[in-house]
Amino acid sequence: MTQQPAIFLENDEVTPLDTIIDVSNLKKSYTTGEVITEVLRGIDMKIGRGEMGVILGPSGSGKTTLMNIIGGVDQGDSGTVIVDGLEVNNLGDKELTDYRRAYIGFVFQFYNLVPNLTASENIEVVANISKSPINMDEVLEAVEMKDKKDRFPRELSGGEQQRISIARAVVKNPKLLLCDEPTGALDYETSRSILHLLQQVNTTYGTTILMVTHNTAIAEMANRVFKLRSGEIEEGWVNETAVSAERIEW
């Protein structure tokens, strides 16, 4: 069993009242040829409903891998991942699909919009398969993209594309919104407005958000922060004084 850093144990006592993500002793390794890379070496983390969590860490530390397992697009080798009471780590392909469909909203670093669909149609991609989607106009209003809803992705700026991508994730009112480097391809100002938007989503819809970033400044807006290094949580803390995205600077 991997030894856990003392500081984490300290924070672990501050267990959220209503845990929505509960990862314990999650391990994952890749085998390429002869070489085995241990990417996650026993991760423990908890996030409460309605919180905003941030995963920090240098490149290659396993952030994306962890997110992907929580999001149900990848699976860990051992350990448990419980999301809203559902044990995700031993689901079959079919159940995983249903899990993603019902629970998770994704926001990607490179937006991943369907190029030949208009902005609003891209949002419909998800609305189309959700049981009780939020009203389209409301979502477009929320991401301030109502006037550009008929444009195609390549006619939008990166920030605008990310707004549409957030709208697409939010439209189904997911239990959990996973954002992997959502500002990774954006400039400073645009990044701040996107972070602000995520914060708004978090407060307006009460959506739990888990965000990956390597920008430490962004951690200031989170309720809970996990610092990853070489597949282990090196540090984790609860941020009692989460600030508004508009006040973050780097």
């Binding site: 994306t64 992907n68 999001g71 697009v73 990848d74 079919k94 699909t97 249903d98 899990y99 993603r100 469909r101 019902a102 998770i104 994704f106 990607f108 670093q109 490179f110 937006y111 991943n112 369907v114 190029p115 030949n116 669909l117 149609e121 419909e124 991609v125 998800v126 609305a127 189309n128 398969i129 195609f152 390549r154 006619e155 391809a185």
Partner: protein, 746 residues
């Protein structure tokens, strides 16, 4: 060199579409070379036979003997008197025996020795079918002749008993040649003349003036048959025309398909390689070098496909020609390899494919290197239709599928055109069968209420045999179209033998001038129009006013009241030329000019239908395969273009079934539209083909496609489509989630 290696690697990674294009080019070249060379050689052989053995331009009988030499001089023609007799062999078959001519329609010995006074020559198909070998003896009217060899007559290449029969039956009927002296000694022969004009242009005009000449000399022509109307000869030209038309149409369509396919592949490849192209530019590569690299793709496909196609085409010439020659036996004096066709088969795909590719590549490479290096994708613009589409009222699935089709118009065009081609191939044979069936059931059976038709050599005035109804008739040629001769039939208004209906299905009584719809359409006349015609016998001119149109598919006729016709022809009121009835009759030798057994006519058509079944089935299989390839390639292209989207949809929680539906079902509407467009295109082309048949067959087949066949075609097309979809499903399922997760990172 590195770029060449890259070319092959790219092709290997995209096997299916490149193989598809390769095979289309291959089949296209193969058919082009094979079929044109067969058609060409068949034509050469036929022309050689016609010229060397002096094919007559017409055959005729007259009431009195001709003064041949003076007539030859006056009309600048060769004329030869000949004789023919139908002899029943002891084994039951009928042998039509011709006298060996000296100038016109001279026989050609195919195998064995020429005639002498003790021998006979027999047509090869009859000989082989009835197991007659050279040296065997045959009993002709009580006299034994030994078979000297096999023979063909230039005026009787396709051995059928009569024009109505259409399909040969060598187990029952054949032809033979005997020396003139043996013929003279034989009982029951009838004489006829053959004529061939020295001037080989305007044959039809010369025929007319030849006949006026005879009339002027007071000679009555009792029977006249232009060689251009004689199925025994024209079927050969028909086959040649059909072959050479097919040899252009089918390869042409396949070539167009392969051109579109390659353009799509090139476009996709260049778009995907934008960054590479930018880098190569930056490294100092010139546009011409890149152009050369991308041109390699069509060159390899067209070059190898064309080359192999030409080889296979060459290989199929000989067996195909031999097959043709077994049906239309002719002496092969010269076999020509037409190098021009070889060159065309080889170069046409290369030129067409590289030309189109050149245009596509140049257009795509026009982006400046600077833009390219910035990574702006080559001409991946939103096209005007995509932009103009207002899809708000549709469901998401519909929207997505419409956008998917509109996104790549060339891909949609490829699918549409491919389905049209497959539909045409699929329904071509079925339409032919359906048309023949229609002619048989709705046409002949509906029009004629009789079993036998007897036409006499001379006008009759006695009352007809019990149960028979008399009719009169005359062959005329309309002034507006000298190639379209037809019969005007005089029938009693109270006739029970002829049953006519108007176009709305109501009974038409023949108490006025009625034209069959098929003839009205051909001559483009309607009710109230005047028709100027010339009597084929005596060349007198008449004018008829059309009073009704009959919806009959039986043929090209004008029916008018018996009395009116006789009056118009200036004949006695009770004169008739033929009778209709239900019983078989015996008439004195030489009294009849023709006998029509309606059951035999029907049997002939049924025979034709059943013989065409093999062709129909092979066309169906061919179109199924072609359709499968095309739809499979298109779905392959769609899946390739949508890898990222498919992966994304999976991540977002779409189930495999839903992804398949979105991606693969978008083709459904295009396939259906393709089928629907295919039908009228097919009907138009079949009608055109039937028109060309009319000229050599002496009958008009109305184009009909019955709705069951249409439904059957639709089912086959949809089964093809579903099969291609099932084959493609695995491809969709194999696309990993990581595809979209990594998007943008490379």
């Amino acid at each position: 060199m590195t770029l060449l290696r890259k070319t092959f690697r790219t092709m290997r990674e995209n096997k299916a579409p490149y193989l598809g294009a390769f095979f289309m080019v291959l089949i296209s070249s193969m058919l082009l070379v094979g079929m044109t060379m067969v058609a060409n050689n068949l034509e050469l052989i036929f022309n050689a036979l016609s010229a060397d053995h002096m094919l007559g331009d017409a055959e005729f009988s007259v009431s009195s003997d001709l003064n041949i030499s003076s007539l030859e001089e006056q009309t600048n023609a060769s004329i030869e008197k000949s004789s023919v007799a139908d002899v029943e062999l002891p084994s039951g078959q009928t042998l039509r025996i011709f006298a060996a001519n000296e100038t016109l329609n001279r026989h050609a010995v195919l195998e064995g020795d020429d005639l002498d006074e003790d021998s006979i020559l027999i047509d090869p198909l009859f000989a082989s079918t009835n197991d007659l070998k050279i040296g065997d003896s045959v009993d002709i009217g009580g006299k034994e002749f030994s078979v000297a060899g096999t023979v063909v007559l230039p005026n009787y290449i396709y051995v059928i008993r009569s024009t109505e029969e259409m399909i040969n039956d060598p187990s029952k009927f054949g032809i033979a040649v005997l020396s003139q002296s043996n013929m003279a000694a034989m009982p029951g022969t009838s004489d006829f003349y053959a004529v061939r004009f020295a001037d080989r242009t305007d044959i039809h005009e010369q025929e007319l003036s030849f006949r006026s000449q005879l009339l002027a000399e007071g000679i009555e022509i009792t029977d006249w048959e232009s060689t251009t109307n004689k199925s025994m000869v024209t079927f050969v030209s028909l086959e040649i025309t059909t072959l050479s038309t097919m040899s252009k149409v089918v390869p042409g369509m396949l070539l167009i398909l392969s051109v579109i396919l390659l353009s799509i592949l090139l476009k996709r490849m260049i778009q995907r390689e934008t960054a590479v192209i930018g880098t190569l530019y930056a490294l100092g590569y010139r546009q011409s070098e890149l152009l050369r690299h991308y041109l390699l793709f069509p060159l390899i496909v067209a070059g190898t496909g064309g080359f192999l196609g030409v080889l296979l085409g060459l290989a199929m010439v000989s067996p195909m020609l031999n097959f043709m020659l077994s049906v239309f036996p002719m002496p092969v004096d010269a076999y020509q390899t037409n190098y021009a066709f070889l060159a065309i088969g080889l170069l046409l795909p290369v030129i067409v494919l590289s030309l189109v590719s050149y245009v596509v590549i140049i257009r795509l490479l026009r982006v400046s290197p600077a833009d390219l290096m910035k990574g702006s994708r080559v001409s991946e613009k939103t096209n005007f239709i995509e932009r103009a589409l207002k899809l708000d009222r549709f469901s998401f699935n519909t929207k997505f599928q419409i956008r998917e089709q509109v996104r790549s118009l060339s891909r949609t065009g490829f699918l549409l055109f491919g389905v049209i081609v497959a539909t045409i191939l699929l329904l071509y044979g079925l339409t032919m069968q359906s048309s023949l069936n229609y002619m048989l059931n709705e046409g002949i059976a509906a029009l004629y209420n009789l079993k036998y038709e007897y036409v006499f050599n001379d006008l009759q005035t006695d009352s007809p045999p019990e149960g028979f109804e008399q009719f009169n008739g005359v062959y005329v040629t309309p002034d507006q179209d000298t190639s379209a001769n037809f019969a005007i039939i005089g029938v009693f208004p109270q006739s029970t033998r002829i049953q006519l209906k108007d176009t709305s299905g109501d009974k038409l009584i023949p108490d006025r001038v009625i034209i069959t719809k098929i003839l009205a359409d051909k001559l483009n006349v309607g009710i109230g129009d005047e028709l100027h015609v010339t009597n084929d016998e005596d060349l007198k001119a008449y004018t008829l006013t059309i009073e009704a149109v009959a919806d009959s598919a039986a043929g090209e006729f004008i029916f008018m009241p018996f009395a009116d016709l006789n009056q118009m022809l200036d004949m006695p009121a009770d004169a008739y030329i033929g009778i209709w009835g239900d019983e078989q009759m015996q008439f004195p030798e030489g009294a009849l000019s023709s006998t029509k057994d309606m059951d035999a006519v029907a049997a002939g058509i049924r025979n034709l239908i059943s013989q065409s079944s093999i062709m129909v089935y092979s066309l169906i299989i061919m179109s199924f395969i072609l359709g499968l390839i095309i739809i499979f390639l298109v779905t392959g292209l769609i899946i390739e273009e949508n890898r990222n989207t498919i992966s994304l949809f999976k991540i977002l929680g779409y189930r495999p079934k839903e992804v398949n539906k979105l991606i693969l079902d978008s083709n459904t509407i295009v396939v259906v539209i393709g089928y629907l467009i295919g039908i009228p295109v097919l009907l138009i082309s079949v009608t055109a083909f039937m028109q060309s048949l009319t000229e050599s067959m002496q009958m008009t087949i109305p184009t009909r496609l019955n709705s069951w066949y249409m439904l059957l075609g639709f089912v086959i097309v949809m089964v093809t489509y579903q099969t291609a979809k099932i084959l493609s499903r695995k491809k969709v399922n194999r696309i990993p989630l990581s595809e979209a997760l990594k998007a943008g990172t490379e």
